[in-house]
């Protein structure tokens, strides 16, 4: 066991020391951070206080109402939210065009510094019946800005119209209140408090993590075995350890590296999402400015976390062993590119089954795939995240996966045993079968 530990330690230490590992570990969180700070940052910049000149050609006090509404608009939520507009109302009954023309020279980005305006909003008495108001500004291309302003004005106009019809606007507003289906997951007859969307995101995220780990680290197992074959280290190792010990050490060592790296990433992601507001504030971005773009990690219940980690580990070992066998059969990475196809197919099949089954996680297909060892690492955590599997089903599935793992490791160990000491031509399928029989 001490020997296996030596292999594991070497794999881990040497891998973690590489530039590729350090860069990957650092760059991913940076990328992730940028992903959630940037949209909010950009948005809050465009959401800076807008200076608007309100040319009021109304006689009915509509202009004053609009002014009040604009003053009430805020960026973000809560106490600290800043006003969105800086409104200057200019009474211009009967001379709207003249006032507008006099204001135009003071409008535009370059004029703003000197007390000018971002734009000019012209409303008149005809705004109520026609629903038309004119806006002249530097930011007219900004769809969001225009929508914001329309949204601010719209209720006032509607209320006016209703009043002219003799209807109480408050009553109407109540009656047109839309319907919003608030989805909450029910599991085992209990309310979970999780929203439907978070559940789906989690189901995909788990599948993606395994997929990613297998692509990234499975091929690392394969390539490092090819490298060891090429520099003949295997001969020294093979005289000291059994091939099984060598394979175990390799797979476990790389697995720990995977766990370590993904662990770092997950911690960073958790930290970012829980301290989101503080971090955003540090970048001068108001909380909530990102709106829907905000970054939220779905929470994981301990039992789901356990199921996920269990199947992640089983899946990783199973596929890494398969990759090890492929590595042992090849002499160059080019050869490996072809030979790893069958393994890749299973990884892809597992990954895509998550997408296919998430729509019907309790259908026949989902039930069947729960017992297919190569696919369970993807299917079971996905199903469990949507609705916990009954214990017998979960145990049976775990059993099937462990059985599959043992078979794959046994086969891989036999291929590995002969393969690592075979150089020269690429092994064929027939060679592989012979190795399995004779090893």
């Amino acid at each position: 066991m001490r020997k296996v530990w030596a292999i594991i330690r070497r794999e881990f230490v040497e891998r973690v020391r590489t530039k590729a590992f350090i860069l990957g570990t650092l760059l991913f969180p940076l990328f992730m951070g940028a992903m959630f700070i940037l949209p909010g940052y950009l948005m809050s910049r465009s959401l800076g206080v807008k200076s608007v000149a309100l040319v009021d050609a109304t006689t009915s006090g509509l202009g004053a109402q609009v002014e009040t509404a604009f003053r009430a608009a805020r960026i973000g939520k809560g106490e600290k939210a800043k006003p969105r507009y800086d409104v200057t109302r200019v009474a211009a009954v009967g001379r709207a065009n003249a006032v507008r023309d006099s204001l135009v020279p003071m409008t535009g980005l370059s004029r703003k510094e000197a007390g000018g305006f971002d734009g000019i909003l012209v409303i008149s008495d005809s705004t109520v019946p026609t629903g038309k108001a004119a806006y002249y500004g530097a930011n007219v291309a900004s769809f969001d800005d225009m929508q914001e302003m329309e949204g601010t004005i719209r209720p006032i106009i509607i209320a006016r119209r209703l009043q002219t019809m003799g209807v109480d606007p408050a009553e109407v507003m109540k009656s047109v209140q839309g319907i919003d289906l608030v989805a909450t997951k029910v599991a085992d007859g209990k309310l979970t408090g999780e929203s439907g969307a978070a559940t789906f995101i989690l189901a995909y995220a788990m599948g993606f993590m395994l997929y990613f780990a297998l692509l990234l680290f499975g091929t690392q197992v394969m390539n490092s075995i090819i490298e060891e074959k090429n520099n003949r280290i295997v001969e020294v190792l093979a005289s000291s350890l059994t091939p099984f010990q060598m394979m175990l050490g390799k797979v476990a060592g790389v697995g720990l590296v995977a766990l370590f790296q993904i662990g770092i990433w997950a911690s960073v992601a958790t930290y970012l999402s829980t301290h989101q507001d503080k971090i955003l504030a540090a970048f001068g971005v108001a909380a909530g400015a990102g709106g829907k773009m905000a970054f939220a990690l779905p929470s994981m219940k301990p039992d789901l976390l356990f199921v996920f980690l269990l199947f992640f580990a089983l899946g990783f070992l199973l596929f890494a062993a398969a990759y090890a066998a492929v590595g042992a059969m090849c002499n160059t990475t080019q050869e490996a590119g072809q030979l790893q196809m069958p393994v890749m197919m299973f990884v892809l099949a597992g990954f895509f089954s998550v997408f296919a089954l998430v729509r019907d996680p309790n259908g026949t297909a989902a039930h069947v795939l729960t017992y297919v060892p190569m696919l369970t690492p993807f299917v079971v955590p996905m199903r469990y995240s949507i609705a916990p599997l009954p214990l017998p089903e979960l145990l049976l599935s775990t059993g099937a996966t462990v059985l599959g793992l043992i078979v794959v490791v046994w086969l891989a160990a036999r291929i590995y045993r002969v393969g690592i000491l075979s150089y020269g031509k690429k092994a064929t399928l027939r060679d592989m079968l012979r190795w399995i029989r004779t090893a």
């Binding site: 020997k3 030596a6 070497r10 520099n231 005289s239 000491l421």
Partner: protein, 318 residues
Amino acid sequence: MNGSVLQLDGVTKRFSGHTAVDALSLEVPKGGIFGLLGPNGAGKSTTIRMIMNIITPDEGRISVLGRGSASRELSDRIGFLPEERGLYKKMKVVDQLTFLGEAKGIRRAIARRKALAWLERLGLHDWTLKRVEDLSKGMQQKVQFIGALLHDPELLILDEPFSGLDPVNSQVMKDVVVEEARQGRTVLFSTHIMEQAERMCDRLVIIARGRVVVEGALADVKREFGGRHVALAFTRNADRAAKVLADRSLIEKVDDYGASAEVTLAPSGDADRLLRALVQEDVGLSRFEVVEASLQSIFIAKVGADAATAPAKEVVHA
């Protein structure tokens, strides 16, 4: 244990049609340095790989340190330097050696301490923290050599330990090997360089085409071949001398250089009779020397043309 650490009994290995090792039997006694000699492609490395259980023989039995050929269980007692050197290029020298020691089952701290001591001894002290890829080929070979010795094995198996080394480094390694043997370890090493074997071996076996050609203690082998060679030079009556040398009951082979000759005595002849005959013919002998055969000449005599027509290097593909 009957005093032998390694026994091969009728071991055969075939690779896709050609027989690399053909019913090979040999015995390595405990202690001393045992040379496994032969031309390129004679089956030396294949034999060593079978001993190390890297490949399995098709036929025959191998017993190492009194056990079956499952030398992996014995790996802690065996040190192995493979023919094709293999080290992790990106690892630091001392980490590499520590790892090799650990793989042999010794504790990390001890492995490290020993590695440092060995690096010091072989003059690699300044390279301790360098990556293996920064070392010259000769230095890498020394590192690998240390890796084989680190765990104080009883049996040291070295496949072509001196190939690619300059004379100075060769000498350093030779001294270490001799020193290890003096401490009671058994050393088995393969080589095709006879001078080396001649200086170091206590016992040897020469194999060619997978078969044993010569076997025994170095002294015995030389004695057997020695005394059969005579170098002579004469000053007159060359025609009479030639007549004596033509006697097939006395002389088996002559390398005639005119006034001098190197002859191989026939099985029925001996040096005394030859001397008497030559004196009788009055050839004016200026030299008459019974030469001890060099291992090189034994090797060439025994392996002969085989050496020049070694089969293509085997590709291991079980």
